[in-house]
Amino acid sequence: MSQKDSLLIHIDALYRSALYLVKNRSNADDLAQETYLRAFKFLREDREISNEKAWLFKILINTFINQYRKEKKEPSLVDFNSIESFHESIEEEVLMSPIMENEAEFNKLLDDDVKKALEGLPDDFRMVILLSTVEGFSYKEISDMVKCPIGTVMSRIYRGRRMLKERLTGYAKKHGYERE
């Protein structure tokens, strides 16, 4: 298998993340293509890549931040947690912990609910959820991709999941009532 083929194995993963990042198919196409073209250009440099998937995602995130975020002129989130470590920053949040009472049945959720809830999250939070929950990258890998300290990544994962869960709980409950 050529180097290119082994990178193309990740095309579905790359495309779905691109789609959730830019939220429309035509831009997702462009973003995925741009990511691969950049990756292939680098391949010619005769270098070995140890973790291909993580490396591709790093290029994807970088391209997204440089091209699409600039176009949108969306202000980047303030990193007020970047200096603190995760456990320190989280102490204050223990009261609003991820564990919520009366959680609804998540298996009742429709794919569309998840899509809507995820797309409604701010870019920085949606990005880390895609990278952690969906693609299973480690905090360290994510911190390298989004170029933020691990503490910030953890805090974004924490807040992002909480926001997501709030939205999904709403949808799940709605479906629950509808079916009753």
């Binding site: 495309y15 293509q33 010619r44 912990s97 480690s138 869960k165």
Partner: protein, 268 residues
């Protein structure tokens, strides 16, 4: 560990980010605490649901072939050169090079210096022509064999081109006249930087005047049992590396630094 600690390590535990010791402590607590283990279970269920939903998205069937097509469609010689000339970041150095070329040319024309006979100087002028798009390749090809055959047909010389790394694109070749002798000149592109390679063939097999390169005033460098010579060009922006092999003399000229040029050569 109590239920509050679990809240603190909740996500780190789910994401397998805890060290073995902490992990065991949490597992021990979950074993005893039904409530916490339920909460962890439900969180995992939510993650699975999110993952499942996102993973239903597949890349469209055409995407892979579109990407591969785009990679294969390499830009032509002039597109590359145009891009390389138009790039803003290159305009300043290029303007500098152009000024330097004009200055050097006028200086040497006025003073009628001996350097006109210096093969390296002449080679550098040819490279500047290439850089300034004045010199069209006589043959445009990415095929080594086609270029070697072209030289053979035109001059009767059998040229051996050095082995070059794949990331360097062969662009074409020309036979400019230097001191009345047609000298094989090969063009390459490394990303967006043009490279010119001159092959001075064994003077015995060369028709007309003998031309030889004087490597003696250049810096000598021994690499992989081969002697390489490096120097800066007359304009100050060009770098030259030269070597001898099987009676032939090779001169490679580019704006790349000499280290990069050496790395381009496969075995050296």
């Amino acid at each position: 560990m109590n239920c509050n600690d679990i809240r603190k390590y909740f996500y780190a535990f789910i994401d397998n980010e805890l060290d073995v010791e902490k992990n065991i402590e949490i597992l021990a607590h979950l074993d005893m605490c039904y409530e916490c283990s339920q909460k962890i279970e439900r969180e995992r269920q939510l993650h699975t649901r999110v993952k499942e939903a996102v993973c239903t998205v597949k890349a469209p069937a055409y995407l892979e072939s579109t990407i591969l097509k785009k990679v294969e469609r390499k830009p032509g010689f002039f597109t590359l050169l145009k891009e390389s000339l138009v790039l803003k970041s290159r305009l300043i150095p290029l303007a500098g090079i152009a000024t330097a070329v004009i200055l050097i040319v006028s200086f040497f024309v006025i003073s009628n210096s001996l350097k006109k006979d210096d093969i390296l100087y002449l080679a550098e002028s040819e490279f500047h022509n290439y850089l300034m798009k004045k010199l069209d390749p006589d043959i445009r090809s990415q095929n080594v064999k086609a270029i070697v055959e072209y030289f053979q047909d035109q001059t009767g010389l059998s040229i051996t081109l050095p082995a070059i790394k794949e990331n360097v694109q062969l662009v074409g070749a020309a036979l400019p006249e230097i001191k009345g002798v047609k000298v094989p000149l090969v063009f390459y592109m490394h990303d967006e930087t043009p490279i010119a390679l001159f092959v001075m063939c064994d003077s015995d097999s060369m028709p007309g005047d003998k031309i030889n390169i004087d490597f003696s005033r250049m810096k000598e460098l021994s690499k992989n049992n081969m002697m390489l010579y490096t120097d800066s060009g007359y304009c100050g922006a060009c770098q030259i590396i030269g070597w001898k092999k099987a009676g032939n003399e090779y001169v490679m000229m580019s704006n790349l630094n000499s280290d990069k040029m050496m790395r381009i050569l496969k075995k050296v």
